[in-house]
Symmetry: C2
Subunit: 333 residues, 2 copies
């Protein structure tokens, strides 16, 4: 481990994992945290899902959303991926001295609209202001509480033969942020997919045991998330590149920018691993929601290459996917 | 309202209140948030208290604690002030590129030790890294969940004749931070009171209805908190200056620096408003804990000057206390 924190540590890839595994988990050891889900499931009479996320995205307004919408969706989605139906949010602002009140108003309005749509209430909050140059406009933390509706979702539940489903096109958010950050012409043509997945995930909970795990592939993208599912197991994920939905605009932007859409962040998409028998049903459930209309079955869990995620390319070759190393793009969420 | 955010908006005083009341509450309107307690009490079978706080203190290591200890105590205390016994914390880091891993380790150790002492588990977390110059070393957000043990604590429960108790000396934290930030000689003689109030508050819950409200006077200090209790009511808080415990070192440091210890932040002290009959019992409960050994009854609720907080000075005069205007000292928590 280096002696200083570099941007790689925030990438959601290998460095982030090493920080969590080598420093944070050993120190704060407990069962709920060790599960390393997007949210913690708390013991008790009524099981509760608890999750937190800070948002440091730049720019704060982008095609398809803003930091306020993202802060609500991000945490509601983390609760949903852990099997919970989010009901309450906390909201904490760190604001840079000199930030325009008008922008803050827009962000709060966006938070309210998104929370209303998602059926969550912001019930507690905090505001801190730091001197000019000690923040970049505004950072937001939200934590979310929900009731556990789908117990037992976990990568550990994945079995040979299971199917990998994505709820829509991959890489929209990360690509859009990069285009808008650097002011590329045509940036408006690629919109962030920032959206709340609470209803869509809720639909999938009806699959009960046939639903193995849910995850929203944010930092690190689809590839990093799938690698995490099977690393250190005897399972392999085999993907069919031609089936992975990627929009034409994202594809050409990524080619131009030298990005890989499989590593580009999503903020309104989920990956579901489901039993082979339930795959078609899962797909039709997802497609019944507008936010899931482009869903596709993109791969299968095998034992061909234990611990690895393999992409069968459109030309018949194959490529081993690894977790993101370094920061493909900092501050995309 | 100005058109930009100034440091005053983070002071915990009038500007902070105006931001919350004029912008945040109208937008995010709901019953739990409107109560404006340190934590929200959520409806449900088992009532839950939920609170959040971001910590942007400078310096991050100070006499009596560090940002990690503060981040645990601050949220555990907010839950306690809302009548809850904290059990679970979330932990979210925003770290500046270049931050020393060794410092991060010390902070995580401190979080662990404080959480162990407080009987809370960190169950979910998040780490973001931002570019050099976009943060000041490290900012931490914690959110806390606890079980409601003392329902109905609220400034609205305060009645004429009630007694005001503080659990110890006032102004230690804010004074210590200022001394250590600017490198004053003798800074080590004034230690922050940073401490967890979960047990002490838990002891007071036994008073049930005789305990009207609890509050930890952080930003804005004792004076601002008391002003908030009675503003827009027909009640008055009359304080006896000679009874307010202030340590000799804090008193002389404040004189030297031109600070008022009544407006200086505390991070390990509480204010309890209790019924007159229960005041002595409350005092002995508080004093039975090491963190409450300097507790004192400092005033009475009257109807003499409706809506005001009046300090009877040691010389027999009297002075009306108002809420903090502007930032006496930014980034003390």
């Amino acid at each position: 481990m280096n002696e200083i924190i570099t941007l790689d540590y925030g990438s959601g890839g290998k460095k982030t994992a090493s920080l969590i595994e080598n420093m944070i988990l050993p120190a704060l050891d407990n069962e709920a945290l060790d599960a390393l889900l997007d949210g913690a499931v708390l013991p008790g009479a009524e099981k509760i899902v608890f999750s937190t996320d800070s948002f440091v995205i730049s720019p704060i307004f982008f095609p398809g959303g803003d930091i306020g919408k993202l802060a609500v969706c991000g945490t509601v989605n983390d609760v949903a991926m852990a099997g919970g139906s989010a009901r309450y949010l906390s909201l904490a602002f760190i604001i840079e001295e000199g930030f325009e009140i008008e922008k803050l108003k827009k962000i709060i309005d966006s938070i309210q609209n998104t929370a209303n749509d998602a059926g969550v209430a912001v019930v507690t909050g905090d505001t801190k202001v730091v001197e000019k140059g000690k923040c970049d406009g505004i950072y937001i933390n939200t934590s979310g509480i929900g009731v556990l509706r789908a117990p037992g979702l976990s990568p550990a539940a994945i079995k040979e033969g299971d199917k990998i489903i994505v709820s829509g096109t991959m890489g929209d958010h990360g690509t859009s942020i990069l285009l808008s950050r650097y002011g590329y012409a045509g940036g408006e043509e690629v919109k962030s997919d920032c959206a709340c997945l609470k209803r869509l995930a809720g639909g999938l909970y009806d699959l009960s045991g046939d639903l193995r795990v849910l995850r929203d592939p944010t930092r690190g993208g689809l590839a990093t998330t799938l690698c995490e599912f099977v690393e250190n197991t005897d399972l392999c994920i085999c993907l069919d590149e031609s089936r992975i939905p990627i929009s034409k605009n994202v594809k050409s932007a990524c080619e131009m920018l030298g990005l890989d859409p499989l590593y580009s962040a999503n903020e309104g998409k989920l990956i579901a691993v489901v039993s082979p028998n339930a795959a078609d049903r899962a797909l039709s459930i997802i497609r019944s929601y507008p936010e899931g209309e482009n869903a596709a079955i993109i791969g299968t869990v095998t034992k061909d290459h234990p611990g690895q995620t393999v992409l069968r390319t459109a030309f018949g070759g194959s490529r081993i996917l690894t977790k993101l190393t370094g920061a493909q793009l900092p501050r995309i969420c």
